[in-house]
Each structure stands twice: as structure tokens, then as C-alpha cells.
């Protein structure tokens, strides 16, 4: 399904061609899918176009508009393919008609058209008919231009599993006749939610790996960030798209500070904020402003102290929370009251025990650990949090600050037993150990 052409390795010409191809790949797939309505076939045709480029560009030079060249070749082959296959007779008619009415593809297509195709590709790859795993793999493959091997490495999954997942996803899209379109109306919001969730899922897998030896897989974060920025350019009027982009810019800005010299995680309160990337913070602020401009409701709902109708969406709210951290020069200077309010809005907007848990942390900074412990204790019975290591971890922290170190130790140990990430488990065990020999006053900041 995925022919891998093997050009003469190491030559600068082939490196240049492969780079051009990688950059053009998503748009190429998008443009060809519009003709053949099948991302699997589109991908094969794109690979054919690459082979053609490898044959001709070294002799004739790289064309002025390599993207248009590749698209023209792939489109021509799409037409040939359809002509050769009898069972595609119906499609032939469609294409025959559209070829008569559209100009030959030698001219660069209208960028607006291509952008629409890209957007259609995003929505197709994130279609709810696919499982979450299939959506992420297909999005990284088609939009991120990652090879199967790269995706497999990023998710610590055997390459064969990823390859099968992608093949099955393509087949599902074809057999279920998933339309190559950006939905409109009420469908759009629901489907856009799936698109944003996929990008966030990819980011989170890189940001706090759920399993394995490494705490961070930065490659995945960067790919997700790139996808989010791409989507921001494609859908500038959707506040939630800017919200997600903003959130990811803020979170990515902390990458360098999130691990210590030995790869161990460093908690937000202990991070050296001078290592935060100021340029990414600035980009996060800009993206948040765009979200607000696309739907000026965030400032309004903060002023009113409650969610009005049409309140900001969950990604805008999370971005606003991340902004509070980004703008504080020290942990102590953080505007916890604003964060607690924002979590309150988020709890109304998309209620979840995890949001409540985060709100509890903010409340503990405003009103002290005792009030927060009340919130956390109401969450103890939540089935979704039963195996969530951050619940006992937060509870342990609150108990430690209340001087109940022995109970805190039990909670940290429980949190460690639930954490699936090796680095995180180590950190939690260390905190449990500290409770055994509590030095200093119970409310001193952890260092």
C-alpha cells in the first residue's frame, strides 16, 4: 500500500526533491483526493508523482512551482488510473465532466481551492467513523507527512500495527463512503471538535507520555503544534481553533524547563521560568487574542464572573489558564484567583472530574489546602478517576501542606503505583519519601 521509492541516497538533489515532496505531500494528497475520492489511492498516486520527480528533476532542474508540477502529474495519473479501471466507469464520467470544465492542472491551482482541499483532508482524516487511534495515525500520515515508521516510533507501537491501522482506516473511509468535505451547520461544530481533539491527543502523547521510559516525546508535540497552526490558517474565524493553537504554544513554551538534567520531570512550580520560550509565549498570547477577536466572549464572561450564553469553548478557556501561568514570573505571582474562575467556567462548559481536580489545585492556592481538600474528597468516588494517578497525587500534596504527612505519604505511594510513566513514578516515589522525613514547615513550597 505504501511503495517507498529508493533514490540514490545522500545526493543533494534527491534530498532537495524529498524535502519538496514532504512539504507538498499534504496538499498533493488533498488535491488528488478531490478527484479520486479515496485517500489510499491518492497516496499511491502521490508516490508515483514523487518517482516522476526523482526521474526528471535531476536532469531538468526543479520547476519554479514544484507543488503545482507534482499535483499536475498526480492528477494526470489519477485520470489514467480511472480510465483503466472498468469498475470506475461511473467516476470516469464524473472526472470526464470535471476535466472538461476545469482548466488543465499545469497552472497553479487557486490557493483558496487548495486550502479548501486541505481542510477537507483534515476533516476526513479525523472522521468519527474511525477510532481515535486510527484518526491520530492517519492525521500524522496525511497532514503531518510522517512516515509509518516515524509514527510507530513516536507512539512506541510496532510499525506493522501502525501500517495496518492506517490501511484499515483508509479502507473504512472508502467502504463507508465518507464524503470528502468540510461539514456545515451543526455537524461542523461536532466534527471540528473531533479534529481539535485529535491534534490535542497527538500533542499530549508527546507532552506527557502515558507509558514508556521517556517523559517527553517532543517530536509529537511539534507535529501537533504545526497541525494546529495550519488549522488556524485554514479556519481563521473559529475561536476554538485559535484557542487550541494558543494552548499548545503556551505548553510548548515550557518544554525546555519541564525536564531536569537526567530527563526527570520538573513540576510547574519548580520550573526555571527563564527557560520558557518567550517567542512561543508571545505566539500563544497572539493566538488567544485572535480567539477573543473571533468571539469576544472571554473578557465578557470574566467580567460578569459567570458563563453567559455562548461562553468561550474549552480550548479557549484552557488557553486562558495557560496564559496566566505564562505571564507569571514566579509560581507565587500566578493569578490563581483568575485561574480558579476560569476552571469554574470550564467546569460549566465541559464538566469533568479532571477539570474539578484542577480547579481544586487553584482553589488551594487562593483559599488554602483545606477548602481544596473538600473538593478533592468529593471526587474520590468518581469512577473515571479511580485509576487516575493525579488524584492521589494532588490529595497527597494538599495533605502534606496541611501537615498530615503520614496520610500524604500513603497518597503519593498510591499515585506512584498508578502512574504508568517511569519518570513520573520516580518523581512520586521521591515525594512519598520526603513525607517520611518532613523537613521544614509543612506549608513550605516543594523544591
Amino acid at each position: 500500500m505504501e511503495p517507498q521509492p529508493t533514490p540514490a541516497p545522500g545526493t543533494s538533489a534527491t534530498t532537495a526533491i524529498e524535502t519538496v515532496f514532504r512539504l507538498e505531500f499534504p496538499r498533493l494528497i488533498a488535491a488528488v483526493t478531490r478527484i479520486v475520492r479515496d485517500v489510499g489511492i491518492a497516496e499511491e498516486l502521490a508516490q508515483d508523482a514523487l518517482v516522476a520527480a526523482l526521474e526528471r528533476w535531476p536532469r531538468e532542474g526543479v520547476p519554479d512551482n514544484p507543488g503545482a508540477w507534482l499535483t499536475a502529474v498526480a492528477r494526470r495519473r489519477a485520470v489514467d488510473l480511472v480510465r483503466r479501471r472498468e469498475n470506475y466507469a461511473r467516476k470516469l464520467q464524473e472526472i470526464g465532466r470535471s476535466l472538461e470544465t476545469t482548466a488543465p492542472a499545469q497552472e497553479p491551482a487557486d490557493p483558496g481551492d487548495i486550502d479548501d482541499d486541505l481542510l477537507r483532508l483534515v476533516f476526513t482524516a479525523c472522521h468519527p467513523v474511525l477510532s481515535a487511534e486510527a484518526r491520530t495515525a492517519l492525521t500524522l500520515r496525511l497532514l503531518g507527512g510522517l512516515t509509518t515508521a516515524e509514527i510507530a516510533r513516536a507512539f512506541l507501537t510496532p510499525e506493522r500495527t501502525i501500517a495496518q491501522r492506517i490501511v484499515r482506516a483508509k479502507r473504512t473511509l472508502a467502504t463507508r463512503n465518507v464524503a470528502f468535505e468540510v461539514p456545515y451547520g451543526p455537524d461542523r461544530e461536532a466534527r471540528l471538535g473531533s479534529v481539535l481533539d485529535v491534534i490535542y491527543l497527538i500533542f499530549n502523547e508527546g507532552y506527557a507520555a502515558t507509558a514508556g521510559d521517556d517523559w517527553l516525546r517532543p517530536g509529537l508535540c511539534e507535529d501537533a503544534l504545526r497541525l494546529a497552526r495550519l488549522l488556524s490558517g485554514l479556519m481563521p474565524k473559529e475561536p476554538e481553533v485559535h484557542g487550541l493553537t494558543s494552548l499548545l504554544e503556551f505548553q510548548a513554551s515550557r518544554t525546555a524547563a519541564r525536564t531536569g538534567p537526567n530527563g526527570e520531570p520538573v513540576l510547574l512550580e519548580d520550573q526555571n521560568r527563564r527557560r520558557w520560550n518567550r517567542m512561543l509565549i508571545a505566539r500563544g498570547i497572539t493566538a488567544l487574542a485572535r480567539a477573543d477577536a473571533a468571539s469576544p466572549k472571554l473578557s465578557a464572561s470574566l467580567e460578569q464572573g459567570g458563563p453567559p450564553s455562548g461562553a468561550p469553548g474549552p480550548y479557549v478557556l484552557q488557553a486562558a489558564i495557560a496564559a496566566c501561568h505564562a505571564l507569571a514570573y514566579t509560581y507565587e505571582e500566578t493569578d490563581w484567583r483568575r485561574i480558579a474562575t476560569l476552571y469554574g467556567l470550564l467546569a460549566v462548559q465541559s464538566p469533568s472530574p479532571v477539570v474539578e481536580l484542577n480547579r481544586a489545585v487553584a482553589v488551594s492556592m487562593v483559599d488554602g489546602p483545606a477548602s481544596a481538600l473538600g473538593i478533592v474528597d468529593t471526587l474520590a468516588a468518581e469512577p473515571v478517576l479511580r485509576d487516575y494517578h493525579l488524584l492521589p497525587s494532588v490529595r497527597g500534596d494538599l495533605l502534606r501542606r496541611l501537615g498530615r504527612t503520614e496520610e500524604a505519604r500513603t497518597e503519593f505511594e498510591r499515585a506512584a503505583s498508578l502512574a504508568r510513566n517511569v519518570r513520573e513514578r520516580g518523581l512520586l516515589l521521591a515525594r512519598a519519601e520526603e513525607c517520611r522525613f518532613p523537613g521544614g514547615p509543612p506549608d513550605s513550597p516543594h523544591s
Binding site: T19, L23, G233
Partner: protein
């Protein structure tokens, strides 16, 4: 993913006195939009002429300050772009596309340097 600084160096003596043509500005604007939409561009800007710049020099424990233009320099920095790319080959490809937006009478050199991280 590494970040790259593409330093745009021009020869002010050969650059058109009236500045870039409207067509060039248009092409460049479209390309910058494309790079931004691709999620690659982090920051970019052109710089005002060196006539409005000042060099502050440190040598032998002494500071000296010289106002532009710097007529003795063959190449001066005329702009920059900071891009986040999968590898250097990609940064070079975007830089090539940037250079190709210029008319043939331009002489422009871009120096692509990886930004040291951490």
C-alpha cells in the same frame, strides 16, 4: 523540531533605492503567508536601511558608536526569518522559495543557521 534563523543579507549598493517593487512585496507577502500557514514561520521582519542603524562596537576594552550607513560593508542584514522545521533541508527549501520571489537584478544571500536549543 529545531528552529532556524535565516539571515537575509543584501548589498545596499545594488538594492533598488526605492526599495522592493510592489510586485515583490506581493509575492513575498503571499509566500510568508504560506510559510506561516504551514505552521513553520515563527517570526519574520525586514529591517530599515543601515542609514538609520547604529553600530556599537567593543574592542580593546573600549566602546565606539558609529551611525549608519555602513558603506564599507558589502553585505548588510536586511531582514530575518525564524522558522521551525523538521530539518535543515526544509529550512533551506523555504529559504530558496523566499529568494525566488525576487527579481533577477537582486543579489541576496540568506544564511541559514540552526538556533542552539536548551
Amino acid at each position: 523540531m529545531p528552529r532556524y534563523l535565516s539571515l537575509v543579507k543584501i548589498d545596499e549598493k545594488t538594492a533598488p533605492a526605492e526599495g522592493p517593487s510592489p510586485e515583490l512585496m506581493q509575492r513575498m507577502g503571499e509566500l510568508i503567508e504560506e510559510i506561516t500557514k504551514a505552521g513553520v514561520m515563527l517570526d519574520t521582519a525586514g529591517l530599515t536601511p543601515t542609514a538609520q542603524g547604529t553600530r556599537v562596537h567593543w574592542e580593546g576594552g573600549k566602546i565606539s558608536v558609529t551611525d549608519g550607513p555602513f558603506t564599507e560593508s558589502k553585505e548588510v542584514v536586511g531582514g530575518y526569518a525564524i522558522m521551525q522545521c523538521k530539518d535543515k533541508a526544509e529550512a533551506i527549501e523555504w529559504t530558496k522559495r523566499f529568494l525566488k520571489t525576487h527579481e533577477e537584478f537582486w543579489t541576496v544571500t540568506c544564511e541559514v543557521r540552526e538556533i542552539a536549543e536548551g
